[in-house]
C-alpha cells in the first residue's frame, strides 16, 4: 500500500547559461508544492536560478539490461571523432 504524495524528480539550472541537471526527488501534493519543496530542499545555498519538477512516472528510461545493445554499436565507430584522421603537421587550421 502506498499512500504517498506524487513523486517528482527535481532539476536545477545552477546558473544562467547552463542546462538543468537532475539533483534528486521529493513528494508533493501538486506541482506548485513540488516547486516550493524543491526550493527548500535543494537550493538552501544558492544552488540554482531555475527549477524544473517532473512527475517521476512521466520519465521513460532505457533498460539497463539493454545498455550493451543500445550503446555498444557506437564503440567501434571511431571515425566519428576528429582524431581518427591523420593530417600532416604542416597543414594548419584543420
Amino acid at each position: 500500500m502506498n499512500e504517498d504524495w506524487v513523486l517528482y524528480e527535481v532539476f536545477i539550472r545552477s546558473r544562467s547559461g547552463l542546462e538543468h541537471k537532475h539533483v534528486g526527488s521529493l513528494h508533493a501534493a501538486d506541482a506548485r508544492m513540488a516547486i516550493e519543496h524543491a526550493r527548500d530542499t535543494y537550493t538552501r545555498r544558492q544552488e540554482g536560478v531555475s527549477l524544473w519538477v517532473v512527475r517521476s512516472s512521466e520519465i521513460v528510461a532505457s533498460d539497463p539490461e539493454e545498455a550493451d545493445a543500445l550503446f555498444e554499436p557506437a564503440r567501434d565507430k571511431v571515425y566519428r571523432h576528429p582524431t581518427f584522421y591523420a593530417i600532416p603537421d604542416e597543414v594548419k587550421n584543420l
Binding site: M1, N2, E3, D4, W5, V6, L7, V23, G24, S25, L26, H27, A29, D30, A31, M33, D40, T41, R44, R45, A61, D63, P64, E65
Partner: protein, 333 residues
C-alpha cells in the same frame, strides 16, 4: 548528519542466494571495478535490503536529530546564534529528505519508512537519545556529534550505490559548517567566564563517550562489516573510523583548554595517536534498545508532530484533487 553502524537484524547471508546465470559474480565484478550501481540495475536482494536498512536508519537519525537542537532555538543567546542554529536544524531536515529519497529508489515507500520510525521498529543513531541540558550542548553536538558524523560519512560519498553516494556528497558539503559553528561556540565559552568554561567542560564530559559510540560496535562484534566492505557500502571498519575521530578531536579539546573525560586516554608513541580507554558498551546497547535518557520523549515528539500535521497533509491532498493535480491519494498517512 549521522549514520551509525547499528547491526540490526540482517537478512540471510548472500552466499545462500542461487547465482542464476552468474549474475552475482558479474555484480561483484562491477563493484570490484568501482562501478556505481543504479536503481534499475540488477542487484542481490541482500544488497538491496542492507542499503534500505542503512539509508533508512540514517534518514531517521537526521529527522530525530532535529529534536535535541531544536530544543535550544528559542533560547539561543544572540540573534546570530539563533539564525545559525535554525539553518543547521533545517539542514538536518533536508538531509533526511535526501536520504529518504535515496532509500525509495530501492523500492520502499516513504509511508512505510515513516511508519517504521513512528512505530518504534526502526532504529536511529543512539546519540539523539541524550538530552541537551545547557547551551554548551549545542556547541558540543556540532563539534563532536557532527564531527563523528563527518568521519562516518566522507567514505560513504564513494559508496557503490549511486543515489546514496550522491546524497552523501551533498550532505558532506553542508555538514562542515555544522561542525565549525559548534567548535566556534565552544571556543567562545572556553574563552569566557569561569562559569562558561565549566559549562563547556560539562558538555564535553557528557557528549564524549556517546560520540565515540556513534561509530557502532567494535569490529569484533560488528556482524555486517565484512559483507558491507565487499559490497563497498562501507570502506572502513567502525574501530578504524573511531580511532581517526579520537586522533583529530583530542588536540581540538586541548586547544579549548578542556579535558577529555577519559582517565585512560594516553598518547601512543608508536602509532603516533591518542588511544582511548574502554567504552561502556552496555550503555550503548541499552540506549539502542530504547532505554536511553530520551528514547520515549523523542518518539513521542515525532508522533505528535506527525499527527499535528495530518490536517495540513489532508488539506493539501484535497486541494490538489480539486484542482486536477490528478492521481493524488486522498490520504497521505
Amino acid at each position: 548528519m549521522y549514520t551509525q553502524a547499528l547491526d540490526s537484524a540482517g537478512s540471510a547471508a548472500p552466499q545462500g542466494e542461487a547465482d542464476e546465470d552468474g549474475r552475482l559474480e558479474r555484480f561483484q565484478a562491477r563493484i570490484d571495478r568501482d562501478e556505481k550501481i543504479e536503481p534499475k540495475d540488477w542487484m542481490p536482494e541482500d544488497y538491496r535490503q542492507t542499503l534500505i536498512r542503512q539509508i533508512a536508519q540514517h534518514a531517521h537519525s537526521e529527522i530525530v536529530g532535529m529534536l535535541p537542537e531544536g530544543n535550544w532555538i528559542t533560547r539561543a543567546p544572540s540573534l546570530r546564534r539563533k539564525v545559525v542554529l535554525i539553518a543547521k536544524v533545517q539542514d538536518e531536515g533536508g538531509h533526511g529528505m535526501y536520504l529518504y529519497s535515496a532509500a525509495e529508489t530501492l523500492g520502499v515507500s516513504r509511508t512505510t519508512l515513516i511508519e517504521q520510525l513512528l512505530s518504534g521498529r526502526a532504529k536511529y543513531s543512539s546519540i539523539f537519545n541524550y538530552p541537551t541540558l545547557t547551551w554548551a550542548d549545542i556547541g558540543a553536538i556540532g563539534w563532536l556529534v557532527d564531527g563523528a558524523a563527518i568521519m562516518n560519512q566522507i567514505p560513504l560519498c564513494r559508496c557503490s550505490y549511486g543515489p546514496y553516494a550522491r546524497a552523501m556528497v551533498r550532505i558532506c558539503k553542508e555538514e562542515s559548517f555544522h561542525q565549525r559553528q559548534g567548535y566556534e561556540l565552544m571556543l567562545a565559552l572556553a574563552r569566557g567566564s569561569a562559569a562558561q568554561r565549566a559549562m563547556a567542560q560539562d558538555a564535553l564530559n557528557r557528549w564524549w563517550w556517546p560520540s565515540l559510540m556513534m561509530f557502532g560496535p567494535s569490529d569484533a562484534h560488528s556482524v555486517h562489516t565484512a559483507q558491507s566492505m565487499r559490497w563497498k557500502i562501507k570502506r572502513f571498519s567502525n574501530d578504524e573510523l573511531r580511532q581517526k575521530f579520537i586522533s583529530v578531536t583530542v588536540p581540538q579539546a586541548q586547544y579549548l583548554g578542556l579535558t577529555v573525560p577519559d582517565p585512560e586516554l594516553r598518547w601512543d608513541e608508536a602509532a603516533q595517536h591518542y588511544r582511548a580507554g574502554p567504552i561502556n558498551w552496555s550503555e550503548f546497547h541499552a540506549v539502542l534498545k530504547g532505554d536511553g535518557p530520551c528514547n520515549r520523549e523523542r518518539l513521542a515528539a515525532r508522533r505528535e508532530a506527525h499527527e499535528a500535521g495530518r490536517w495540513v497533509r489532508e488539506a493539501a491532498a484535497a486541494y490538489a484533487e480539486k484542482h486536477g493535480a490528478g492521481a493524488v491519494p486522498a490520504r497521505s498517512g
